[in-house]
């Protein structure tokens, strides 16, 4: 009798911890429906010939063939490569140098940090529009330098298709290097003071200490920063829309814009899906090795 009562009181496996499960419903739905389901849906439909509406009529790799034959996509990829390469290099180098300067026990550290970081609070739209104005050939930097007497000076990136991507790069660096500086500074502050003392005792010059000792010690911070910058680069969209709208012509197009334009303006969904799948692939190429290094190999964090 007692045994039977106890058995019936014993809570059902599914009802245990019920409140926590209810609280997790949004997370479970987001993870399964949007992140896994949505991604899988887009990848599957990238093999169809969907135009105005998604249709399950498979055409194999047609969309991808068309994608890689489209000049606009090729330019988008080239732009992304150039933009990505230079913004990685410059933001890491500038960010690190600034952080090293900030780490010299300087006065007004807070003021300098506030100044360097404020662009990060602004949206890409605001950033793009400000730099569109600064780089305006008629009134901006070019005209200032010319009015100073250098008549042949030419710096007109937003209207020159060969260098337009560098105009966008300048704006992106202005907006983002403050963040990199902050991350690097946190990394530098995490390094034991004794290392510096030992290096000083051994008479190693400062720059050598940085290059040979400090930077290798900051490997973790640098790699994490790298991943953050890189996954931001792949998503770059608003900045281009605001600064150049992809122009002149199609000279500053980027993949994220290609996806948006094909999905919502050109009503060629299949192309949009194929292009976004390529973006996913790019991110996977960046993330998977990092995740493996960081979380794989038995070393667990978190």
């Amino acid at each position: 009798m007692t045994g039977l009562t106890r058995g019936s009181v014993r809570p059902n496996q599914w009802l245990r911890n019920l409140n926590a499960k209810i609280a997790s419903i949004p997370m479970i739905l987001t993870a399964l429906v949007i992140f896994v389901g949505g991604t899988a849906w887009t990848v599957v439909y990238s093999f169809t010939n969907s135009k105005l509406l998604p249709r399950l009529k498979f055409v194999g790799l047609d969309q991808y063939e068309r994608l890689w034959e489209a000049p606009r996509w090729i330019i988008s990829i080239q732009n992304l490569a150039v933009f990505g390469f230079f913004s990685l290099i410059f933001s890491l180098v500038i960010g690190f140098v600034l952080a090293a300067l900030m780490d010299q026990k300087i006065r007004f550290e807070n003021t300098f940090r506030t100044i360097m970081l404020y662009p990060f609070a602004l949206s890409f739209i605001v950033t793009g529009l400000v730099w569109q104005w600064l780089l305006n050939p008629q009134y901006g930097i070019q005209s200032i330098v010319r009015s100073l007497g250098w008549e042949s000076f030419s710096f007109d990136p937003l209207y020159d298709s060969d260098i337009v991507i560098y105009g966008i790069l300048i704006a992106a660096l202005w907006q983002g290097t403050g963040l990199v500086m902050c991350l690097m500074l946190a990394g530098l502050r995490g390094i034991d003071e004794d290392i510096w003392k030992a290096a000083r005792v051994d008479g190693i010059p400062m720059w050598k200490t940085y290059v040979l000792i400090i930077i290798p010690m900051m490997r973790g911070v640098i790699i994490t920063t790298l991943v953050i910058i890189a996954s931001g680069i792949v998503k770059v969209y608003d900045l281009v829309v605001a600064q150049t709208s992809g122009g002149p012509g199609i000279a500053s197009e980027v993949p994220a814009k290609y996806v948006y334009d094909y999905m919502f303006l050109a009503q060629n969904l299949g192309q949009g899906f194929a292009a976004s799948t390529m973006m996913l692939l790019t991110v996977a190429i960046i993330i998977v090795p990092w995740a493996y290094l960081e979380f794989g190999g038995g070393r667990k964090r978190g």
Binding site: K21, G37, T42, V130, S143, C182, G272, V283
Partner: protein
């Protein structure tokens, strides 16, 4: 009063004492104008000027009249200060056929940001609390998917979300956009709250359990009051993030609900009419004003927020 003063004097004395005992600390004192100082401060000041210049140009341009802009240079301070561009940007600037200025976008952004911030934080904090204190089988798997999902480009998930929202009947409305912001804020916010709650002393939670408090009671009576700083950090992160969003605004809402960033872009980059650079710059500052205010007011907490937002590992 006297007592206090002598006490602090004593303390100071003690501090000096230990300093002497420990020997000189820090690097050798240098003269203010050493070569090193000139290089360090010189570089930092140059960098600061570079960072501030665009803000300065924005403000200066927005205070000039168009004739002055056409003849002068963009760095020159205004000869005659006028606030007309600001009024025009706020109340008269045109997007397409509508000429009621940025004010509409501003109020749309407010109506988007306030519920999105509140709902996303409420959902994610409860979620992080469940993950930290009430783990159930499979919870970690979903959490891992959520974190990996934070790296997937939005473009991959946009269209399926459009379909889901359309099925729910909220595509194009503010409700739909709030849902989207809640979804994409979830990975980082959940991580933020989970880590914070996991760092609180466990005894507290256990004591409350022994006293018979349940899931929601513990959350409301114990966790919430103890976690105000992390809620502020989350709020800073979300207010700036959602206010600055462009892509979701343009994809998931109809033109009458466009947030401020989208409307700003439409005003400035419209091809019709004469370009009024002063109005454009006033509009740009107006759009940046909310996140800038959050940034300058919150100070160190902002840095903490973005560090949490950036280091997703």
């Amino acid at each position: 009063m006297d007592n206090l003063a002598s006490k602090s004097a004593l303390k100071r004395h003690e501090a000096e004492d230990t300093r002497i005992k420990a020997g000189p600390r820090g690097s050798k004192p240098r003269s203010a104008l050493s070569r090193r100082n000139i290089i360090v401060y010189g570089t930092l000041i140059l960098v600061a000027v570079y960072y501030l210049l665009p803000l300065y140009v924005m403000i200066v341009t927005s205070l000039k009249g168009m004739p002055e802009i056409r003849v002068g240079n963009i760095f020159a301070p205004p000869l005659e200060i006028t606030f007309e561009p600001w009024v025009k940007a706020w109340a008269e600037a045109c997007t397409g056929l509508n000429c009621d200025g940025l004010s509409r976008g501003f109020w749309n952004s407010v109506r988007i940001t306030v519920p999105s911030v509140l709902i996303s934080i409420a959902v994610a904090s409860v979620n992080g609390y469940a993950l930290a204190n009430w783990r159930f089988k499979g919870a970690d798997l979903f959490f891992t998917i959520l974190i990996i999902g934070a790296f997937i480009p939005y473009q991959v998930m946009i269209y399926p979300i459009v379909i889901v929202l359309r099925e729910m009947g909220v595509y194009g409305t503010l409700t739909g956009l709030v849902i989207v912001h809640t979804i994409f804020g979830m990975p980082i916010l959940t991580l933020l709250f989970r880590n914070y709650f996991a760092g609180l002393p466990e005894e507290l939670f256990k004591a409350a359990r022994v006293d018979g408090a349940g899931f929601w009671t513990i959350y409301l009576k114990i966790m919430l009051p103890m976690s105000l700083p992390i809620f502020v950090v989350a709020m800073i992160l979300q207010v700036t993030g959602i206010w600055n969003d462009f892509l979701f605004g343009v994809v998931f809402t109809r033109p009458e609900y466009y947030p401020m960033t989208v409307q700003l872009n439409n005003i400035v980059n419209s091809v019709q009419g004469v370009k009024e650079y002063n109005v454009n710059m006033a509009a740009t500052i107006l759009t940046g004003l909310v996140p800038l205010t959050v940034y300058f007011v919150s100070g160190r907490l902002f840095v903490r927020g973005i560090a949490a937002g950036a280091v997703k590992g």
